[in-house]
Amino acid sequence: MKLTRMITIGIAAIGLSFAANAADLRVGLQSEPSSIDPHYHNLGPNNGFATHIFGALVGSDENQQHYPDLAVSWKPVDDTTWEFKLRQGVKWHDGSPFSADDVLFTVERAQNVPNSPSSFVTYLKGKTFSKIDDHTVHIKTEKPYPLMPNDMTTVKIISAKAGKGASTEDYNSGKAAIGTGPYKFVEWVPGDRIVLERNDDYFGAKAAFDKVTFKPIKSGPARISALLAGDVDFIDNVPPLDVARLKKDNSVQLSGGPSNRVIYLHMDQFREDSPHIKAKDGGAIKNPLMDVRVRKAISMSINRDAIVDRVMEGVAVKAGQLLPAGFHGVSDKMKPEAYDPKMAKKLMAEAGYPDGFKMVVHGPNDRYINDAKIAEALAQMLNRVGIDASVETMTKAVYFKRASRGGPDKSPEFSFMVLGWGAGSGEASSPLKALLHTYDKSKGLGAANRGRHTDAEVDTLIQKALATVDSDARGKLLAAATEKAVGENYGVIPLHYQVNTWAAKAGYKYLPRTDERTIVMGLSAN
């Protein structure tokens, strides 16, 4: 054993001489992007990563507020046309100039990437792009469309010259990975590392690091130990259990803040006979969740403070609506429901269920932070007001299929379920149109409405908001829709907003992002 030790010491001594340059950064990522192609896979890890290399017309800052990126200004010129003025003098990583042709090329390609498992068509369809001059683009829609700037934050602009005929493989190899962002692509070894270097010609604030290496480290404890061992300088998704311990560690700087993701409950409101609800004696029962008083009683029986303090280790913020304060279209009247089991019991009795009923709480166990524990805590709280709740959690791969399409005729299977929603557009319209608008395939609305809540007034408000270009007026409509759908109807029950935590080595601080993305431009020396 003496020999092994000597060998280890020897190896370690040599290892130390490889100490990294101070201007280099190594990042431990929980989720590796599945491609460098910015249009291949429309999903969080890819979209966040692409921001380093590629720009969009409109930027989205840490609070999902818009700022000029490749477009310097944008405004509606008539009811159905938006004008985007492009930035002058921008150079691609290969030195060629950026112009309106690149934007038009991007729009064409982003909708036609072969094998794309999730495309950008959602943000581009129904929009006609036209070049007015080299630095002006008009976007026409059939109806007034207020979310144009939001949509333009999602699609990364690629170079027409480098992207002509390029496949996803060409981006992954770096051949076509030519952007305008603050970092240039160097190499990607899948599963091992992605390397970027500073782009000295970037038009905005220069990148802080000469070289950035992203290392995918999926396991939470392994990511933390890599940071503590000094193998990486910065990690994302710190598990809540470790937050308290790391706070005391002077070699580590934590940063976190509420995200745009609300954890909420969907309740079956479309079946008289709900599959996972029974009378206490096991017999059939009319679905009590159809009664708004029962939904309100459930909301009152939930001790949100206890969930935040005990289940989430304090790393969450209790929720009263679908997005935290500060986002566009949230209501300033709505507060988190107060814990009131007595009133809950009274409401249950009024609704005709003085003795409660039997119900299964379904939830994932590997999708949201502490999701299975949340479901268990909920069941205990429901038991206290007489609802005989049992818990069934499962892996996300199985859960989401059953929650969305597991029942007969591809209807949602579960009666009562724990879910989460991140508002990608940073506006209340995102959860409202997906979760609370009536499920309507022809309009593409209510796509994630797994409780099939429906209310004509809410639908009208949402549709009106989606066609109101004036920002203030739209915000008011969205707030009104939320007040009606969540506050009065209890169409869904919000529990808490997730808080995401990043950790950097001492001396660096990360500006926490509400969109949960890990973007090194937000990391600075303090």
Partner: protein, 324 residues
């Protein structure tokens, strides 16, 4: 020998076919990959488009039929997540896993056999008892936990070895591997030791049991009576005779080192096949799961064949049928 190899190859093909059917049907029964792949904000049209594009709207039998047609042309399907051929992705990551498995096999043999033989020769000494007690620990401690402890101790507390990832690689003799650089070796040591621990323990126990048995044999006594040195007795008469069970176990276990490196690869973020398959299982990336399992079956079948052939070299009494 040729007939033997031919017959075994034929059997292997049947095993592969049966496996492909079981695996394909199995993975298609679980969940829906669309929900793992798609942006939650996608509307109903986009969800339907992806289901069609991935061919998930077709019956499983039809999907299997197309899979088999393509498989015979060497195409095991495209990864849902990466959009690249599954086989390419697996082969891309194979060297990292192979190097990890081979290096841990090297650790298991080079420490396991001497320690085991020593424990067998001096069964009552304190050192032997310590070796045997430690080998029980090696068997019973979960790999995941040991991995984290190794990282905490050697990387976080002592700062001797890196905790994560693969180091620099270099190419010699047409092989690109991280064992040729010091940085690479320092990255390799902890995960390889973590993976080797279980094998190390079994090699120690096998070597000890073999030694205890062989040392009492008449030919050892005769060699001693003849006045041969202890070193020569161990090298020539003992080691050769305890090797058969060890080779069998090592051969078969090498397959499991490759197949079950998943845990170690996850803890140490080692960019090998194991990490790929774990991610693929979580994301329901069915083509990768199927292709990976087919490759693992192929590896096991080949290793079995090699072990059988090696027997005949190690023990002249073993004759392979078909050899005249």
């Amino acid at each position: 020998m040729t007939a033997f190899i031919l017959r075994r190859s034929l059997q292997s093909i049947i095993v592969l076919l049966v496996m492909s059917l079981i695996v394909f049907v199995g993975v298609n029964l679980v969940g829906d990959p669309v929900d793992m792949l798609i942006n939650p904000e996608a509307d109903q049209f986009e969800i339907d488009r992806v289901i069609r594009e991935l061919g998930l709207d077709r019956p499983v039998a039809e999907q299997y039929w197309y899979f088999m047609i393509n498989a015979f042309q060497g195409d095991l399907g495209r990864s849902f997540v990466f959009g690249e051929p599954a086989l390419k992705l697996i082969i891309q990551r194979m060297p990292a896993t192979m190097e990890l498995a081979l290096f841990s096999l090297f650790i298991a043999i080079s420490f396991g056999i001497p320690l085991g033989v020593y424990a067998g020769l001096k069964p009552t000494s304190k050192i032997s008892r310590t070796i045997m007690a430690s080998s029980i620990l090696g068997f019973s401690m979960p790999t995941f936990w040991v991995g984290i402890i190794l990282i905490m101790f050697f990387s976080v507390n002592l700062g001797w070895l890196p905790s994560t990832g693969r180091g620099d690689v270099a190419t010699y003799f047409g092989i690109t591997s991280s064992i040729f650089t010091l940085d690479g070796l320092s990255h390799l040591f902890l995960p390889a030791f973590n993976l080797a621990l279980f094998k190390l323990s079994s090699v120690i126990r096998l070597a000890r049991a073999g030694t205890r048995e062989v040392i009492l044999q008449d030919y050892i006594k005769f060699a001693r009576a003849k006045g041969l040195g202890e070193g020569r007795i161990i090298r020539v008469h003992l080691l050769k005779n305890i090797m058969i069970p060890i080779v069998t176990v090592i051969g078969l276990e090498f397959g499991s080192l490759i197949a079950f490196s998943t845990v170690t690869e996850t803890v140490f973020a080692w960019p090998g096949m194991g990490k790929l398959i774990i991610d693929a299982i979580y994301n329901l990336d069915r083509p990768i799961v199927v292709a990976y399992l087919m490759i693992i079956v192929l590896i096991f079948v080949t290793l079995n064949l090699i072990v059988d052939i090696m027997y005949s070299f190690l023990d002249p009494r073993v004759r392979i049928k078909g050899v005249s």
